[in-house]
Symmetry: C2
Subunit: 393 residues, 2 copies
């Protein structure tokens, strides 16, 4: 029997709590609001097929050869053109899904025991991506508009213990669905600039806004102070694994080196296919169809919650975009213990505790409204209410 | 001006010396034997196009959705079936190019200052992939059959300083083109088992054998003691970024967790396309055409070297497969200084020094025979000989 010594980081790596829950709940007959899968009916299959054929017929072997680490110039340009501030394509790095951006950012910024600031709660996959670098993730108190700027300053640390960066998800946050206001954004950017702490702005859902005007991204307010992450997973399809980072010049080169070491480059073929799909304003026509679908499903979920949760002491967020909403259960109720009662009644959710970097709240859970159609949403929320009633008895 | 603190590993990351050289030498009129690009005429473009259409028409949205970290079951099965020993598909992990396997293996095994054993010289991209984990890469003395087993044992270290693993490339090694003999393989596997040191066996070129019988992989001799890495980049095309690891059960789960944190999963679409291309024994028909092409080009390079290098005190390897051969210049000649003289005369190579983990030899260089057709090979080798003559004067 081998007795190999693994890296100390290996003990800190775990399988995603969500993926473990999905294994338990992904079975026939369960209405699952647990997953974060985009609705497959939003994937533009025929546009992809046309683009695959065009790319292979037009570009031939070039589409299948090794390519540069930074990414396909046409795709970097398309990303720069699509973003709502003045972006130099030379600062765009194409990555293998925005999860990879988290890995690369963690690698260049985090030593063992480095301080790292995150929202409370925050995206579980980011905690997982940073964990191999063995940082100390510090939760910043957050309200319905995201990080509280006073607590951001209070937790920032100083000297050798100064936070290496703060990770924030300003639009329709995963898991809470909340959005940072105009005022909060500006205040956070100003304070981060004053303290000289990099902000890592993750924006996978920003294009999926159902109503109101989008406040400018943090990066647009201080491009030299923010690393901005975007993704094609929610507006085109996740199975091509394509995302991007817009990085200040001061760290762009290090990100490229980290990516070269990690996987040489993102698939040349996938980059060409997406650049081809994006031509001629495809996203401007396609994204509104996703918004309409998801808005209807959000409306169905809010209506079902309004109807089913009366008198149960339950509250929830009312997201103006994205995929998720967040439910607060009565004090003392543990979502982890509620889950089997819900599954018995035919629905599944994700308990909220794993989204906290420490000191978790247990009386909260995340619901996705994008995977399940409206009729099933009503049925699933009724099952959740029944589970809550059963738990309370 | 920002004064951000980066991770200490960031200072150890560098852009690949090869990529920097390629930027200087990739210009019109230069016969480049520097790169490691497979010949684009080996890419089965029409098979890919047919597979893209089949996958999108048959699988639809499933081909574009998120999928499991371990990889597509059909592709894991196809990999297990293709390998020349009894492999359980449950031990196959699909990765985003075999470069990613190096990153993941480094992450789970290497702490800062961990000892790591490599051949002298070794694949530069592996040194680059491991560098972010800040190990100490120790070169093991190597001859024309690879690592010397006595020196492997002498450098293995003990206690807390025992080598975490040894990285070896047994077939047509990059950069030298050398192949480990039957006897050396068995002796290395036996010694590694005795010392309980994991072997990481990298085999991207193994299928490109021109002559003779292939000795069994190291992994086939001790499956619980070896992590085996393979790639589709050399037998199909690199631009899809698909590789795989066959890992012992004792570490498979940790590799999966590291991959989940790094990029969630390898593109679903690419996995389905390659599984479709591989159906019905495609590789068994396709690989011989690559072998024939590369063998002709190797023969052209060996013939040109035999003709042009007479009396120059130069020697070279005679690889029985793969893409590269290795040239020893006269003692005291520095390949880095030779490079501009060669470029002036119309050809480029990669100097050998960056392939050494430390204490580099300077009088050696790597030539690729796969990218350039035979007539240009003769012309390029003549230019190299002229540069060597000019240097010696």
């Amino acid at each position: 029997m081998t007795q190999w010594t693994l890296a100390s980081r290996a003990a800190k790596m775990n399988s995603s709590a969500i993926r473990e829950i999905l294994k338990l709940t992904d079975r026939p007959g369960i209405i699952s609001m647990a997953g974060g899968l985009p609705s497959p009916q939003t994937f533009p299959i025929s546009a992809f097929q046309a683009a695959c054929n065009t790319v292979l017929e037009r570009d031939g072997a070039a589409a299948l050869q090794y390519s540069t680490t930074e990414g396909l110039p046409a795709l970097r340009q398309a990303v720069a053109d699509f973003l709502p501030w003045d972006v130099d394509p030379e600062q765009v790095l194409i990555v293998s899904g925005s999860q990879q951006a988290l890995d690369l950012i963690g690698k260049i910024f985090l030593d063992k025991d480095s301080r790292l600031l995150v929202e409370r709660p925050t995206y579980l996959g980011a905690l997982q991506a940073f964990a191999p670098m063995e940082p100390i993730a510090v939760g910043v108190a957050s309200d319905d508009q995201g990080m509280l700027v006073d607590d951001f300053a209070a937790q920032a640390g100083s000297g050798a213990d100064k936070a290496r960066f703060a990770y924030v998800l300003p639009n329709f946050q995963n898991p809470t669905g909340r959005t940072m206001s105009e005022e909060r954004r500006q205040a956070l950017v100003d304070k981060a600039r004053e303290l000289d702490i990099p902000l890592v702005e993750d924006n996978p859902y920003g294009d999926l806004r159902f109503e109101g005007e989008a406040p400018l991204p943090l990066a647009a307010r201080n491009p030299e102070g923010v690393l901005y992450m975007g993704s094609f997973s929610k507006v085109l399809a996740p199975g091509l694994r394509l995302g991007f980072v817009v990085a200040p010049k001061s760290v762009y080169g290090k990100l490229v080196q980290a990516k070269q070491a990690a996987d040489l480059h993102t698939p040349s073929f996938n980059q060409r296919v997406v650049a081809e799909v994006m031509k001629d304003g495809f996203l401007a026509r396609h994204i509104p169809t996703i918004r309409t679908l998801y808005k209807n499903q959000r409306d169905a979920m809010l209506a079902a919650l309004d109807q089913e949760m009366v008198g149960l002491g339950v509250s929830w967020t009312r997201p103006v975009g994205g995929m998720f909403l967040w439910v607060q259960l009565p004090e003392g109720m543990d979502a982890q213990k509620l889950l089997p009662l819900a599954v018995e009644r035919g629905m599944a959710f994700v308990p909220g505790a794993p989204f906290f970097p420490g000191n978790p709240q247990h009386n909260c859970l995340r619901l996705s409204y994008v995977t399940v159609p409206p009729a099933q949403i009503a049925q699933g929320i009724a099952a959740l209410a029944a589970a809550i009633k059963a738990y309370a008895q």
